[in-house]
Subunit: 143 residues, 6 copies
């Protein structure tokens, strides 16, 4: 049966900074530049979750998008939206709040839950600004 | 020789509904939600067709984009644009008009025709709203 | 006190056709082209509602955006989203479902309700496709 | 001579919260909702500065866009980008950091400087998310 | 009767440079920067033409958009698309090819033709890049 | 260790034409259509460079985006922005200036330099208009 990929976008607005406590202010600024501003900065993040599966014969759905949207909200958006990524999020505690690290943690929260819905998490894309974004395939390297 | 991927976007505006005749109204609404509205709803669809090939030495082209655009119009857009996906489209008859099913049928209409043009259909992307889209690789699973 | 304009975007997906019952099929097609397809077509509509007012000294708000969003949903989106503009909408009955006519009717539904919230409806913009949109200032002609 | 309007877009990423110290936590959350999160949240802001003037006969310019861009950077972006709008910005001190208030303050910083360049500040637009933005005409009400 | 504004977008891709023959190379580069590159550069231009009028009672149209699109193509796009704005365009000859000057000339070509269609040209917007655009109201200054 | 893909967008505005000197004018126009206009045309190009790697434990970075941005500017943008792709660019000399050929040459300029930064070039995307773009994986064919 033919596999189709379906993607749902959700959004969240969050504050963060790139900062290592054990480093001096100078080193933090040297490495992280403006992203190390002590009083934080923030972004509108766009999160794209791509799920792979075979369309159901009766519904034509790979996955019910309302269910997928609700899952992403409960597992990810409710934790990150209008939050501080460094201070407010249990599953990011102790982690440098780079988009690279955040996307891996989002994958870990969604992978099994999507399997329980009968589909397969295939890709996540996290857009920080119009000029940069990260993508993650669960550690796979399609190219 | 190095393979390059080139993508052409075309657009169509169509009506559809998600509805199974053999189901009760209640079941249709329960499964398909607002998409089951009896009198239809509609979307601006964006269709991205990606073709793979080696650039021609004289033209630098993988495929002539005017030819590709014309092919997509004749095979797909003329059938779907300002149409009802459930009622007006021969190649969708008897099929649940989900984006998952529509993208597979579009692939089937384009695959051989593009081969006849000396290139290879590699991917189709069909965007229904800014929040959801489907992608299809002819059944291949690159990730 | 300085007036600021604040805009809220909401979206709806709807079916419609441009069609006059008293005209022949030929005349309908001649005047309305592909938009006269008998079995409907549809769009993703973007609705921008612009409200004018003085920022409140305590909140810094011209209007509470959650309240404005909720008002637009109750008065407009719930009536139009996943609906047929010709068949399903009380306040569009008997009207040619052109964007020009729809935007006037949306204005009429919002103007007083926004005044009751202590602000002033200044402009509505209704986007049908990336290539065409209408704007309405309640009959005013700023330019 | 014919007046033309020219607009330059600049961007900044900032943290903020909507919060009144003299209010209880409950009242802050009731009025400002998720925007009152104590540890801040943030946005990618798009700032559009529109200047009005007559094209220069030799250059065809209303204003030199590099000069305008540099002015916006020095007067606005350098103060707001990767900053906390509540804590880090001199000209926003003591002010509720709503987009309505921020846009008025940006106008005040640019108006005279643009006049000194021989043009006239006509409009500012500040986009906070894809769903809301504010516009300001220096207190004028064109509609 | 209530006036509604309707906008049609058309696009063209063109080369140009900002250059005065009577100036030295140094002065050209000093004034026009990278835009003075002798061998040209180019842009994807987005042209938005806004027409004002009362919706027709039978059609609901301010103006037939196919007619408007065709007019813009014949009067503007066919002259500018895949052209050199300095060399190939009769109505731009002898003029500095700045967006400010181009938009005035486009207005002059469209104003009467749109009046002949029973509507009124209200505004033109010409977008050169995502960071700059010009707007023209026929010399009017709504704000 | 998990590989993450990070993408940086840069932009350039350039003139070009599709033209073979050894062909007649008629053949050039027949093959390349409007793109063969003798006096050039141009585009706003969007260049997306995707790099693959493991996030650094201390910084959370696959690659420092400022370093990547600077590299792309020095190696690519400074050569292409406000230039003529046929006349002004050393590394495109003697080559048909199609997007397919340009993207391969950009890859060749970036691949080793990115390896020297400890990461791996994974994909380049070059967008010519909203309707067409090319993608290149260094000759790999992930799908």
């Amino acid at each position: 049966m033919s596999k189709v990929y379906i993607t749902r976008r959700e959004r969240f607005n969050a504050a963060h900074k790139l900062w290592r406590e054990e480093w001096s202010d100078e080193k933090n600024e040297q490495v992280f530049g403006r992203c190390s501003n002590k009083n934080w900065h923030g972004h509108n993040f766009d999160l794209f979750v791509t799920v792979k599966g075979t369309p159901n014969e009766e519904t034509g759905f790979v996955i019910d998008l309302k269910t997928l949207s609700e899952l992403i909200k409960v597992e990810v958006i409710d934790h990150l939206d209008h939050r501080n990524l460094n201070l407010d999020v249990d599953f990011l505690k102790g982690l440098m709040a780079s988009t690279e690290n955040v996307i891996i943690k989002i994958w870990e929260r969604l992978e099994i839950k999507i399997k329980e819905l009968g589909a397969e998490l295939a890709k996540i894309k996290l857009v920080e600004t119009e000029n940069n974004f990260v993508e993650y395939y669960g550690g796979n390297e399609p190219f």
